[in-house]
């Protein structure tokens, strides 16, 4: 596929959550329908479901809910479903494409109403775990199943719970890098992207001094873009174990000195005037992209979808190789490995629990036949993605944008630790205060100590409450 496209942008990365406004307005009535359907689903769960006995290979129609993604990803979902229909007599896969934000709430309603799709799009992590805990998601296979060996080890962590795998990667990996405008760097006589944090700060000072108002562009309206700084800094300073303690809800784990030090670093960046004016009133999108390709900003920290996003905004900027990609700088004396990555390991299809045994059988077949093969890896590469299937590095050489795809693949293959985005890992209840308090840190209206206190408190209330 020669047309570049927007690589998956997770729900949290979407700007147009406007449709949920309607839901908020009718929030009260939605809660009402929720409570009604929840009690319904309870009784249905007790009643059990009539499963076909699956002695000979059963046939079934299955439904897939997929987060719509303009471009080749939608196309290959449809063609894989059609191919499966043609080769598996009696089975039928119907794919429903749903826009990003409505999807999340629609799935929640379908789950609590006990009328789920057979397979559903998932980002893994804490949100998927909520469905598993509620008995709404079924394992696809054990963590030792043969097909799991076909994936890069880091790619299944977000969907593996209790030695069971609950999701199959269906899109490329999305690590976060610094993306920079080589022309701007050249103009201000900075020849290489800074490798260390102090170097980054001194480069920013140089940019500022010579008249570049906003060396770094960021769109922190909904809070996740700032979070990437905290994720990387924490890992570079204290290593992966800092967040592991937080993720296991260890008491006062936010008080780790690495967190404080990371927050101090963030505020020194803000105080240096690194970010553009109004960075907290804009989301990732064409405005922030424009800052980078018009040369009003020198760099941005972003998932690798930034490449295709920029390609959509200004083709020549990307094709002329003006866009650079670099690893997050090293903190001198930090415990983390400089090759550690942060981002979304992959996107997945997960399976609902309250569907017939025949549907589960067909769904597993569909996933294994279509999404775990070298053929699929080639399809992904053709659509501009970096597959998480082992051995796909060789397909990348001739791909469009290989200058970005190959370093990404190499970074993912060799990363000692690929930290899955904190907001997805922690689940919704903790990510809400995390966004809010971190945005205050970025606006300098909250001190690191206040942030730590607020997050420790939020965590106790979550572990105590749910």
């Amino acid at each position: 596929m020669s047309t570049p496209h927007q690589i998956t942008v997770g729900w949290r990365y979407r700007k147009l959550r406007i449709f949920s406004v309607v839901l908020a307005i009718s929030g009260v009535s939605l809660m009402a329908s929720g409570i009604a359907s929840a009690s319904q689903s309870q009784s249905a769960k007790h009643g059990g479901h009539h499963a076909k006995s699956a002695k000979s290979a059963p046939t079934a129609s299955i439904s897939v809910w997929f987060v719509s993604n303009p471009g080749p990803v939608n196309n290959y979902m449809t063609s894989l479903a059609n191919k499966f229909d043609a080769t598996h007599h009696g089975d039928r896969v119907s794919v429903n494409f749903i826009a990003n934000t409505p999807f999340k709430q629609k799935l929640l309603t379908a789950m609590s109403a006990n009328k789920p799709p057979t397979l559903f799009f998932s980002w893994g992590g804490g949100v998927l775990q909520q469905y598993i805990n509620a008995g709404d998601a079924a394992p696809i296979g054990s963590a030792s199943a043969a097909w799991t060996k076909r994936f890069l080890p880091s790619s299944l962590g977000a969907v593996t719970f209790n030695k069971q795998v609950y999701g199959v990667p269906i899109q490329g990996t999305q690590p976060v890098f610094f993306y920079y405008n080589k022309k701007v760097f050249k103009k201000y006589h900075i020849n290489v992207f800074p490798k260390t944090w102090p170097q980054l700060l001194s480069d920013i000072a140089k940019f500022k001094k010579e008249g570049l108002a906003s060396p770094i562009e960021m769109g922190n309206l909904s809070g996740w873009e700032g979070l990437m700084y905290l994720e990387y800094l924490t890992d570079r300073i204290g290593g992966p174990q800092v967040f592991e303690a937080i993720q296991s809800h260890k008491r006062n784990s936010w008080s780790n000195p690495a967190i404080k030090s990371a927050l101090v670093d963030i505020q020194s960046l803000v105080r240096a005037g690194a970010f553009q004016k109004g960075f907290d009133a804009v989301d990732f999108g064409s405005e922030t992209d424009a800052l980078l390709y018009t040369g009003r900003a020198a760099m941005t920290l972003m998932g690798n979808w930034e490449v295709s996003s920029l390609l959509g905004e200004d083709k020549s900027f990307v094709n002329s190789n003006t866009l650079g990609q670099a690893a997050f700088p090293v903190i001198p004396g930090g415990k983390g490995n400089s090759a550690d990555l942060e981002g979304n390991t992959s996107d997945y299809l997960a399976m609902a629990n309250h569907v017939s045994a025949a549907q589960k059988y067909v769904a597993r077949l569909f996933l294994e036949d279509e999404f775990t093969t070298q053929q699929f890896a080639k399809t992904e590469v053709a659509s501009g993605q970096v597959p998480v299937i082992k051995g796909s590095g060789s397909y990348l050489k001739h791909a469009n944008l290989h200058q970005y795809l190959i370093p990404t693949y190499n970074a993912v293959s060799s990363a000692p630790h690929f930290q899955y985005s904190w907001d997805q890992s922690l689940g919704s209840q903790l990510s809400a205060p995390l966004y809010l308090d971190l945005s205050k840190v970025f606006e300098l209206s909250e001190t690191p100590a206040q942030f730590i206190q607020a997050m420790n408190r939020a965590m106790t209330s979550v572990s105590g409450g749910l």
Binding site: M31, Q130, A281, S428
Partner: protein, 323 residues
Amino acid sequence: MLARSINILPESTQKKVARRADLPRKVVGSYWKADVVGVLPTMLLYGFLVLLPIVIAAVLSFYNWNGVGALRFTGFTNWDAFFHDPIAAHSLEVTGILAVASWLVQTPISIALGFFIAGRQRYRAVYAAFYLLPLILSTVGIGLMWQALLDPNFGGLAWLAQNAGLSFLQQNWLGSNSTALWTIVALIAWQFIPFHTLLYQMGRRQVPNVLYEAASIDGATKWQQFIHITLPQLRYTIVVSSTLMLVGSLTYFDIIYVLTNGGPGDKTRVLSLDMYQAAFVANTFGYASVLAVVLGVIGVVVALLLVRLTGFSSLSSQREGMA
């Protein structure tokens, strides 16, 4: 009764009144049943879509529920959390400031504009068409439009600042702690002043001109006429408009959601946005129900207070003694 005793109604009407009064009890009873059947569809719709959800939200506020999984009864835990939640307290404060500021900004401008377009001159009708334009735009559209205009890097105001020498326009309107809330107040006013202008235009047109004529014969100045004729005559218009403004800004959500998402930090985080976040970002539906109930109660109390304090409920005439 009154009609019969003073005999001013036409004879046919008198007969009807009499007939209704003379009807046997049984027939009146069947009328009552017909009334019930008549209002039943509305009652059912209202009951299921308005009353029932309110009751369920109140019940849900005593549970923990993440949207999937089981409901867990937790007693007053959510309510207790609400009374110790600094973010909710802050949101209440922001909501209060927004409501009062909106009233203070919108009322005088709406009255002035309303009176202006109440005049019958044709050029005023032309102006009115422009003034009322925001009324027909969708709120989300308004939000996106202003977001583009206010963007400090690429926005229309920034362009004016750089190219027209209006450097005071070069502000971080939505992203700065000192301007964000006031920018929101201004944009809400921009959106809703047209509606209230219409109310005041109608109110002004209903004030009989004889009052002004009489007053000017008595030598009253324009200002005196405004204070002693117009304002008292517009009493109910003011009550209706103020109630809509105050209760409306309590639940105001869309523009803030689109423009600032409550930011910077929580500077513009109104209670309705806090509720949205609790329900659909944090998936804590029990706690969100607490916020919904609080919001509902405040809205009802404010509306009732306004009606009581202004004597709106008595519906007494403002034209008593007028010929």
